[in-house]
């Protein structure tokens, strides 16, 4: 039993969730002990998103990304051209060996004592390494290379890593969502890995607990009407041109909120009930953009003439990969915790790499004005996510529970996504699934307790 909060009497982690009422204690969002355990139990074990291969096309190219509270260098080696990821911390005294956001390097040189690592992370020099009165036979060897992630995966261009050697393969970690993620990384004509990402990462701070947006902003079906009231009222839903969309032939499909309680993934989901793709509907103001996407949609329709689309979000809508990577068919948004009440949010938006410039520009302008702290839509989210935290952490406030019972008891398993619970589109099934998996991680001694699932264990708690 994992316990916390000794100052207020031992409580098991499990006691913070009331499965029957459908509530969780507010301590989960505000208690620093829980935060510290999450960094160890979740962020040291899970597969985390690092970036996209299109950001580092050439040998020696690197970007600095994050895994939870820590920075990692993602670099394409000069010799074997492979991409690897390393903790951005010198093995000697822990200084950052890279303080640039991106670039092209021969080596990463620590500015402190000049310990120096090549683009495969190998220690290739230390200051005074050959000095007769210095290291001598104590000179550090190959085991003093940069700390490398335990496992790394390039999944159709998207880059992922975990610190845990016992974590299952990335595909096993995704489970039934493997096809969904693959689909979201395709270009609009259905070609695998057909996206390139607009650089750089959009990064900004948000004073709240990472789970506020990270766990509950995906498939938060009931938030949009009020949170984004201003965007609708100001006519900004037509911002991409949706106002001129012509109704096409309705495609037979079902839309749900779904949650995989065993793996923690979930979100919006569309099941496509027959081969083919929905008709393209015009939606762009900029001239020529609809022409391009109509043409690529036509090619995709040919590709899927006899195939059923993988389940994925609603239209461009999103699902999340545990713990907190939100994936759409045109952007990836994810969260890096800093401390209990501070999170950094990153966004990376994609476009067909073969699209003409006017299409890339239209998409780029759209994502710039939509997303993040300068975005029409997401600025409203930031306010709500922000003030959840101070209003929940008071001594009285934290004794209350959050309501997560929307749709509780109405979820059903569906053969189309084995092991995944399917529920009404505006329910909180995906959030409950993330907390099921959260509890499993917080209680697990190792990955042995976490995987395989479905056959050997069921982590669904509600």
């Amino acid at each position: 039993m994992v316990t916390i909060l000794r100052a207020r009497g031992d409580r098991s982690i499990r006691s913070f969730i009331d499965y029957e009422r459908g509530t969780i204690s507010r301590e989960l969002y505000v208690h620093p002990d829980i935060f510290e355990q999450e960094m160890e139990q979740i962020f040291q074990r899970c597969w985390l998103f690092l970036g996209h291969e299109s950001q580092i096309p050439n040998p020696g190219d690197f970007i600095v990304s994050r895994m939870g509270t820590e920075e990692v260098i993602v670099v394409r080696d000069r010799k074997d051209k492979q991409i690897r990821a390393f903790l951005n911390s010198c093995r000697h005294r822990g200084m950052k060996v890279c303080r640039y956001d991106q670039g092209n390097n021969l080596v990463f040189t620590c500015p402190f004592h000049a310990w120096t690592y090549d683009t495969a992370g190998k220690l290739v020099g230390v200051g005074y390494g050959n000095h007769p009165e210095a290291y001598g036979d104590t000179r550090p060897g190959d085991q003093w290379g940069l700390a490398q992630v335990a496992q790394f995966k390039n999944f159709h261009g998207s880059l992922w890593a975990t610190w845990d050697p016992k974590a299952p393969s990335f595909e096993d970690y995704l489970g039934p969502f493997t096809a969904s993620l693959r689909h979201c990384l395709q270009s609009s004509d259905g070609e695998d890995g057909g996206l390139e990402m607009f650089t750089p990462f959009q990064r900004h701070r948000l004073p709240t607990n990472w789970k506020v947006p990270g766990f509950t902003s995906v498939t938060d079906g009931t938030h949009a009407a009020m949170t984004h009231r201003s965007a609708a009222a100001a006519g900004l839903h037509e911002d991409r041109g949706q106002g001129k969309a012509k109704p096409g032939t309705p495609f037979p499909r079902e839309m749900y909120a779904i949650g995989d309680h065993n793996l923690g993934h979930g979100g919006q989901c569309t099941f496509y009930n027959q081969p083919g793709v929905p008709d393209y509907t015009d939606e762009w103001f900029e001239p020529g953009v609809d022409d391009y996407f109509r043409e690529t949609a036509g090619r995709k329709a040919q590709l899927y003439a006899n195939r059923v689309l993988a389940p994925h979000g609603w239209g461009g809508g999103h699902f999340a990969i545990f713990p907190c990577v939100m994936v759409d068919s045109w952007r990836i948004r994810w969260y890096h915790p800093h401390e209990t009440g501070m999170v950094e949010r990153w966004t990376l938006c994609g476009v067909d790499k073969n699209a003409p410039k006017h299409v890339k520009n239209a998409v780029r302008h759209y994502v710039q004005r939509y997303n993040g702290p300068t975005g029409f839509f997401e600025s409203d989210d930031m306010e709500n996510w922000n003030y959840v935290y101070p209003a929940s952490r008071g001594v009285r406030a934290r004794k209350l529970d959050y309501f997560f019972a929307n749709g509780l008891g109405h979820g059903k398993y569906d053969d189309r996504l084995p092991g995944v619970v399917v529920n009404g589109a505006y329910t909180e099934e995906a959030q409950r699934a993330r907390f099921s998996r959260w509890l499993a991680f917080m209680e697990a001694k190792s990955w042995d307790d976490l995987y395989p699932v479905n056959t050997s264990k069921n982590h669904r708690i509600w």
């Binding site: 390097n105 021969l106 080596v107 040189t109 120096t116 020099g125 200051g127 005074y128 050959n130």
Partner: protein, 77 residues
Amino acid sequence: MAETKGYDLTGKGGIQAWSSLPEGTKLTLLNGAVGEIIANPHDGGWVLIKFQEHPHDPSKVGQEEYVFFNEVQTAAG
């Protein structure tokens, strides 16, 4: 053969000279070894050289190694 040019790695201009040493520059190290720069990371500390002579360890000849600026006696290109 082109005229060789000596680089002054000391004094106020030393850091600029060091950081911009081109490939092909010949370095003589304090221990007497000689090598040619094959890459300069422009980090102020290191250059990658290929050894041409090594008085104490002939097996290093032909090997590549990063050399720290305070191990270098002279640079000429």
